[in-house]
Symmetry: C2
Subunit: 332 residues, 2 copies
């Protein structure tokens, strides 16, 4: 029920996930409206519906809304995961509430201090995982190392990168650069024998494909991701305007439309679909608030893949290894 | 003498600034090499040369190098400003050393806690000032407000924006978003009657042209600027690859080359030329380490404009006003 285009587009995406990829999707929310949407798509009874009478709105305070709205679609979704009735969930709604629900209802994995959101960044070679994408605006060096090592598990198990290259975002490549937070996190990561830590990654190298895991605090992660979106959008706007001023270029642009579309498709959040929560007991995918049906479809596929890989054990182990790096350092 | 392509490209840029824009440029550095370069361009005696026997290299520790190399081109440059013999300087060398030289030799303007670097961001409507671009990795709310108000002076006086719109970078638009730093800075800016403060600016809106001054700490500023560069570069790489895979698109791309070039020119650092230090007694422009002759030419023009506008008084007043916002808040 959450998201700017819900429930219509959400139902369409779920239906496509079922029809095109054979996923068993349970719709959680207002029974009447959801069945109405299914009817509209000629799919009455094709997906099961689990009734939930309330909706947490975008502007609501996450934790308060969760406590108050006991029959909200989000709360009921998490209860279903907790009860083992579904393998995971996708929401395009209030992302703070998804995070709060995952924390309070599912709970953290043993050893995890703070769960984080794993974003997916398109690079010139493939994809990189951005951790944290925005869950933890402030964090400690130990938490940042947990994000990095959990991100490494995700890149390895879900993206299939054999030995993911890990970097910490900073304002320069040299060890002396960065903040107290990044220097302490990088120092700890350097002592971990199990990951390929390649030091600091500058903004300009985030998309080069050299790094598979880009670790940073949630504030910087959010700014980084949105700045990249904004810069590409602005470049496109300037180019469009320039092309329009020339009839020759306008004609040429038509011939290049499919190339543009291919690249747009490659970098679009639609194709990424959702950002997983890393560090909680269960599978929760945060989808973009303006998710299209295709984005919902891909987020559901992402949730299925996450659930199939049974990452919980590895993610917990990664978080505990991160914590141990700091205990060792404090002891030595 | 500093910069990856110095002194050849620097001399060429200086010569063009003299020939094309009538600037009176003094070259500071190794007399023999600089005169050799002038000869190479058929311009012996066309620009004055001030000898300096040493060079601060890119990797050197800024403050130490400045103390040790008393006859470095950078140190001598600042001495010339201090002595009133030149109106300002441009360097494509070690930017940390430029900052240290400006701080220790020129000194801060009265009321300025920390000088910052003002970056220039291309937007879909024009340009925005990014403060701080990287001088202060950690900063206090009061310092951040000083950056914002000094940036406002720069946007107004140099870019000619009558009432610059000021924003603080955060991970969302709502007041509750951001960190302790951004919330305190934004709260103080809201109480300032003299500027048009429009609250938080998200990464995606940095290039929309809605904001003329984008204020943030130097860590985030650096990441933001370089991420934007990296994202546009990556988008271009993906597009190039896609176009190459289609003969039709390749042909069309040739017809669009001039449009691409126009946009690239608009967003390129070459056209921006240099980033001014805001908050020091004098004019110092930091140019990109890989500055081309055109970038040096534009940085010299930027330095001349800065010097002509006599910004020192306004910048100092802005910094003192920022400090007063915090004193009032503490007292109330």
């Amino acid at each position: 029920m959450g998201g700017d285009l819900a429930p219509s587009v959400t139902v369409e995406g779920a239906l496509r996930a079922h029809r095109e990829r054979g996923l068993d999707v349970l719709l959680v929310g207002d029974e009447k409206r959801l069945n109405g949407e299914l009817r509209r798509f000629g799919a009455e009874g094709e997906l099961r519906v689990h009734h939930a009478s309330e909706v947490i709105e975008m502007g609501e305070h996450p934790a308060q809304a969760l406590r108050k709205k006991k029959d909200s679609s989000l709360k009921v979704c998490f209860d279903l995961i907790k009860a083992g009735q579904v393998a995971g969930m996708v929401s395009a709604g209030n992302s703070g509430a998804v995070l709060a629900g995952a924390l309070f209802i599912l709970g953290r994995l043993d050893g995890v201090d703070r769960p984080c959101i794993g974003g997916s960044l398109p690079t010139v070679k493939g994809r990189a995982v951005l951790v944290d994408m925005g869950a933890n605006v402030d964090c400690t060096p130990e938490q940042l190392v947990q994000f990095a090592l959990m991100g490494e598990v995700y890149a390895r198990k879900v993206f299939g990168v054999p030995k993911p290259c890990v970097g910490v975002v900073a304002n320069g490549e040299e060890e002396g650069k960065g903040t107290d937070l990044t220097r302490k996190a990088a120092a700890a990561l350097r002592t971990d024998k199990e990951v390929a830590f390649h030091g600091y990654v500058e903004g300009k190298d985030v998309f080069s494909g050299e790094f598979d895991v880009i670790a940073t605090d949630g504030f910087t992660g959010n700014v980084l991701l949105k700045t990249a979106e904004g810069a590409v959008w602005a470049f496109g706007q300037l180019l469009k305007r320039q092309i329009k001023s020339s009839p020759l270029a306008s004609a040429a642009a038509l011939l290049m439309k499919s190339s543009f579309d291919q690249v747009r498709k490659r970098v679009d959040y639609e194709e990424i679909g959702g950002a997983p929560l890393l560090g909680v007991q269960g599978v929760a995918m945060i989808a973009h608030g303006r998710s299209t049906a295709r984005a919902i479809l891909n987020a559901l596929s992402g949730a299925e893949l996450f659930a199939q890989k049974h990452l919980e054990e590895d993610l917990g182990a990664a978080a505990r290894r991160a914590a141990a790096l700091f205990t060792q350092r404090a002891a030595s």
